[in-house]
Each structure stands twice: as structure tokens, then as C-alpha cells.
């Protein structure tokens, strides 16, 4: 009997703490598959965020650093600049990357740090129990927007890929989703490209992954994926926003 599907080598055989239906597990797997396929686990250093993925340092089999909230790109800069031959990635949620760590995100991007950033956007703060994120949609109910996010009061959501695609240091900015098998396959290709770009010293790559949070959205896992499709994708269109390999290097 031949094995056709197995745990990627770059993922440790440990119990994950993620909630049922949470898509962090899928994205962890895609990152680990990319590391395996490129054969770089032995020289990869991952930076875990503060947020739901805080324990990612236990899950990935490569060397891992746990950064302060939002500071992963600065920590990654310190690792990569002192060890240019390592493969360095950050794995960050929307609060980490797009609120408290926005300065670190924007400046590591514009400096063209040769790192790979995996950005999980699920429109909510999961670990602290469902508060408003910088990416929470207008009208979306969270524990700190109990009457729905009202842009006049709580401001507007931030579209990170669109924003970063204007920066010269960015080699690749793509938004993908893991709501369907087809989208998971596209996400995998984008993540692989993000890592390959780094190995080829092309500069900053960010892959924004639209993800679900059934627990804090108050939906079943299946309903959550439908909610993602119906509400998030219209506001956060999928696609490649910048690719220096494409003609002109522009968004599609």
C-alpha cells in the first residue's frame, strides 16, 4: 500500500490548539508543504505572531522565534540581515500585521526585506475572543462593535495588499482564500511563489490568506466558509496585486 497523503515534514506531529473549522491548520499545512517542496526546512527560521497563531513555534519543525505583538517583520529583518542565506518567514494575523504592527509591515515591505510574510485575514481578533480587527467589515458585529462596525465611529477596514502593492520594495503581493479546494490550491501556489521569491532574492513577498473564524463569528465551519465567500471576498478581492515577474510588475 502506498502513502498518498501524509503530514508535511516541516510540521511537527503535535496536537494543534486551533478551534474546529479554523483555517489556520490549512495554511500551516500549505506553508509546511512549500518548505518541504523547496527542501529548505534545515535553513528556515519562522517568526510567530501574537494572536491565534502564537503557538505556531511548536507546530513548524524549523527553528522558530516568538515575536512581540506586531513586531515579527522587524524580528525577521534582524534574522535575515544577519543571515542572508536563511529562509525567513513571518506568520501573522490581521491585528498583528495590520494594526499594532502596521509600521513594521509597511517599512519592512518598502525596504524590500527579502522575507516571506504569511498574513491571515479573518476580520476578527480570535485569541482575545472576537474583538474588532483592522480588517473587520463595515457592519460586522464583534464584541467591541456590538452594533456592527460603523465606519464613522470605528473607521474603515484596511486593504493591505492594495496598499503594499504601491511600494517599490514589494516583489509579490497576492490575496488568496482557503474557502474551497480550488482556492486552497491557488493559495498553495502563491505561498510557494512567496518562498521561491525569497530564495531567488527578489525581495518582499506577502500572501494574504482570507480565513474563517467559526468560533468568533458564531457560525458552523461550513457556514463560516460561506460567510467568507459572501462577505469577505467582495470587500477583499482575490488576486495578484503585485508581481515583479509579471509584465510591468503591475496588479492583474
Amino acid at each position: 500500500m502506498s502513502v498518498v497523503f501524509d503530514r508535511p515534514k516541516a510540521l511537527n506531529d503535535v496536537l494543534m490548539h486551533y478551534c474546529p473549522g479554523c483555517t489556520h491548520g490549512i495554511v500551516h499545512r500549505l506553508v509546511a508543504e512549500a518548505i518541504d517542496e523547496l527542501g529548505v526546512e534545515d535553513k528556515t527560521v519562522g517568526i510567530a505572531p501574537v494572536g491565534c497563531a502564537v503557538f505556531a513555534y511548536n507546530y513548524f519543525a524549523c527553528d522558530m522565534i516568538e515575536a512581540a505583538h506586531g513586531r515579527a517583520p522587524a524580528v525577521a529583518t534582524g534574522v535575515k540581515r544577519t543571515h542572508p542565506d536563511l529562509v525567513v518567514f513571518t506568520y501573522q494575523g490581521d491585528g498583528d500585521l495590520a494594526a499594532i504592527g502596521t509600521a513594521e509591515t509597511v517599512h519592512s515591505a518598502t525596504r524590500g526585506e527579502n522575507i516571506t510574510v504569511i498574513f491571515i485575514n479573518n476580520c476578527i481578533y480570535g485569541m482575545t475572543g472576537g474583538q474588532m480587527a483592522p480588517t473587520t467589515l463595515p457592519g460586522q458585529v464583534t464584541t467591541t462593535t456590538p452594533y456592527g462596525r460603523t465606519p464613522k465611529i470605528q473607521g474603515n477596514p484596511v486593504r493591505i495588499c492594495e496598499m503594499l502593492s504601491t511600494l517599490d520594495g514589494v516583489a509579490y503581493a497576492a490575496r488568496v482564500s482557503v474557502d474551497t479546494p480550488a482556492n486552497v490550491r491557488t493559495a498553495k501556489k502563491a505561498i510557494l511563489k512567496g518562498f521561491r521569491n525569497q530564495i531567488e532574492k527578489k525581495g518582499f513577498s506577502i500572501i494574504e490568506v482570507l480565513s474563517s473564524c467559526p468560533t468568533n463569528w458564531g457560525l458552523s465551519p461550513v457556514e463560516a466558509l460561506a460567510w467568507l465567500r459572501e462577505n469577505m471576498i467582495p470587500y477583499y478581492p482575490l488576486g495578484t496585486y503585485k508581481d515583479i515577474d509579471a509584465v510591468g510588475g503591475d496588479a492583474k
Binding site: Y57, M64, E66, A67, V75, T77, V79, R81
Partner: protein
């Protein structure tokens, strides 16, 4: 190597490079910007990197990344910028990472001023970040010490896996004096087997982390760290003494204040007042044991600081209430004159003898 005439800030930068620190991450702020400028000029010539970060917060986290992957790295700032770095300093401590952080102090609170100050003593020795923690704090008082203590700081940081603070001030940072870079003992550094620099297929993955969700685990890790602190307290206390042997009144002062006090002690000695000076070089660990010894012969102590009086509390604690401890200081960037300190010493001589 011959002595060279240098600014204190530049001496720190050159000493860091001489100590094998080839990575500097900083953000400009007066009165320490010369460190960044010197690094920017020198690093490319020695195969290193000086990177100007977008903020103090980013700079300290770049140091954290560099240090986590096993590399000597440094950042520097002045008081308001150090407040921003305090988050990263706490994470460095929690992750048991070596680092050298320079604070060329200016007046505070808030934006304060840009003239010399020692008002960050409490911050440096008691509260550089959240949590149960200490930092080794070194206080240079000459340009030569700016250099030699920087080299020492890197060694201490690596030996004890802790951030080390060089608590300088705008006066020592800006003044020019001759400095000799060969004047330093080098210590044995343990291998950094904990570093996250790629497992290379030869070991289990390393994790650099300050999070321990189980209270007992966190308590145990803090106890381990405090074991190291006890060793630092036992082995790394440094101070200088001047005419303390027969002193009736012992001045305790560090950094630029100690130099002013030395002149004052010499002046009042000429008038027959038996004064002496104890200059802590390590502010943490504090030379409490030596102060307690001196309390058996001296009749009183005077803490002189460029602040409203912060180290004075440590002098009082060290004395264990056996002798009166008084304070004299100027703050906001004002330097006391030796004559001011001499007057205070004369007054104390009349009162306590």
C-alpha cells in the same frame, strides 16, 4: 594601539565594532545620534551593517532577531526613545537573549530636553520593562570607559544571556577625550547552542520564546533567571573608590556626576573635611555590600545625581539605616558645579561629625 581623541558616543560605536558587533539598528535622537552616524560610516568598511529603523520599537526588535539567530547586535537611543524600546527589552529578557542597549540620557519626562541627565536611573535599574527582571546596567564616566564598558557589555550579555544597558549621559556622550581601544580583557563566551539559525538537519528545532502559559513553568523559568542574577550580583559588581579609607562623608555618584564630585572631594579635603567618593560602575548589580562596609566607618553618605534623587534610595537601602543619607542634585539638564557639592559636603561635615 595609540590613543585617539574621540567623542564618547563615537567611542561606544568603535568599541562595539572592535568587540565583534557588526550589526547596529537605530533611530536618530539627540544626544546619541553620533553613534548611528559613526556606525553608518564604519560598518560598510568592516563588512557589517548599520540599518536605520522606522522606529525605536523596530530597532530593538531587529536586535532581537539578530541576537536570536546568534549574532552580536546593538541599538542605542536617548531617554524618550528608550521608553519605546522597553517592550523589546522585556522580550529580550523573557527570551534569555543577549543584547547591548545604550541610553545616552537626556532630561525627561516626556520630550524633556536634550541636555545631560541621569533621571532614567529608576527606569534602568528597576523598570526597564514589564515583568520580574533585572538588567546589567553599566555607567561609564569617561570616554575611555564608554569604550571599555561597551566591550565588557557584549561579553556580559553573552555570558549571562541578558540585555546589558550602558547608562551614559549627554555629557559623557558629547565630550572628547583620548581613548585606547586595546585596553580590555576579553572573556570566554559560551557557544550559542540555543540560536535559531536553521537546524541544519542536525538537531531538533530551536525555539526563542518568552511565552509560558503554565504558571509553574513560568515561575520556574523566572527562578532560573534569578539564579543567574544571583551569580551576577556575586561576581560582577564594579565600582571605583577615591579617598574613602578615612572618609567621614562618602559621596556616591556615577557617570558625569562622579567626576564633578571627585573635584569637590579634593577641594574639601584641602579644607580638612574628610570626604571620599564611591563611584558605582555597575548600577545593577549595585555595590550595596561595599556601601554597608563603609557605613561602619563613615558617618554619613551623600548621593549626588543629575535628577531629583533616584540612586539615593539604593544608597539608603545599602546602609540599612545605619547612617544618614542625604541627596544633592540638579535636574532637567543642569550640571551641578563642584563648588555646589563642596558646599553641601561642608554643611554635612558640620551636621554629622
Amino acid at each position: 594601539m595609540a590613543k585617539v581623541l574621540m567623542k564618547g558616543n563615537e567611542a561606544i560605536a568603535e568599541a562595539a565594532i572592535a568587540s565583534g558587533c557588526l550589526y547596529y539598528f537605530g533611530y536618530p535622537i539627540t544626544p546619541q545620534t553620533e553613534i548611528s552616524e559613526y556606525m553608518a560610516k564604519r560598518m560598510p568598511k568592516v563588512g557589517g551593517l548599520c540599518l536605520q529603523a522606522e522606529s525605536e520599537i523596530a530597532a530593538i526588535n531587529m536586535v532581537l532577531g539578530a541576537s536570536a539567530s546568534g549574532t552580536r547586535a546593538m541599538t542605542s537611543s536617548s531617554s524618550p526613545g528608550i521608553s519605546l524600546k522597553s517592550e523589546g527589552i522585556s522580550y529580550l529578557v523573557g527570551s534569555d537573549l543577549p543584547a547591548v542597549v545604550v541610553n545616552v540620557q537626556r532630561g525627561g519626562p516626556g520630550l524633556g530636553g536634550i541636555q545631560p541627565s541621569q533621571a532614567d536611573y529608576y527606569q534602568a535599574t528597576k523598570a526597564y520593562g514589564h515583568g520580574d527582571m533585572h538588567l546589567i546596567v553599566l555607567a561609564p564616566s569617561t570616554v575611555q570607559e564608554m569604550a571599555s564598558l561597551t566591550g565588557e557589555a557584549f561579553d556580559l550579555a553573552d555570558i549571562y544571556r541578558t540585555p546589558v544597558i550602558i547608562l551614559a549621559d549627554g555629557a559623557v556622550g558629547q565630550m572628547m577625550e583620548p581613548v585606547d581601544f586595546s585596553e580590555r580583557r576579553r572573556r570566554e563566551i559560551p557557544p550559542k547552542t540555543w540560536a535559531t539559525c536553521g537546524h541544519g538537519g542536525g538537531r531538533k528545532h530551536n525555539i526563542v520564546n518568552s511565552l509560558l502559559m503554565n504558571p509553574e513553568d513560568l515561575e520556574n523559568s523566572i527562578h532560573d533567571r534569578f539564579e543567574r542574577y544571583r551569580k551576577i550580583e556575586a561576581e560582577e559588581v564594579k565600582y571605583e573608590e577615591y579617598m574613602t579609607e578615612d572618609a567621614d562623608v562618602v559621596v556616591v555618584a556615577f557617570g558625569i556626576a562622579a567626576r564633578i564630585c571627585k573635584s569637590a572631594v579634593a577641594a574639601v579635603r584641602a579644607e580638612g573635611i574628610r570626604a571620599g567618593l564611591l563611584r558605582p560602575i555597575t548600577l545593577w548589580p549595585f555595590p550595596s555590600a561595599r556601601i554597608l562596609e563603609l557605613a561602619s566607618t563613615a558617618k554619613s553618605f551623600l548621593s549626588v545625581e543629575l535628577s531629583m534623587g533616584q540612586m539615593v534610595t539604593d544608597v539608603k537601602l545599602a546602609c540599612e539605616c545605619r547612617r544618614p543619607v542625604e541627596f544633592y542634585g540638579r535636574t532637567g539638564g543642569v550640571l551641578p558645579e563642584p563648588a555646589d557639592v563642596a558646599r553641601k559636603l561642608a554643611e554635612m561635615a558640620r551636621k554629622h561629625i
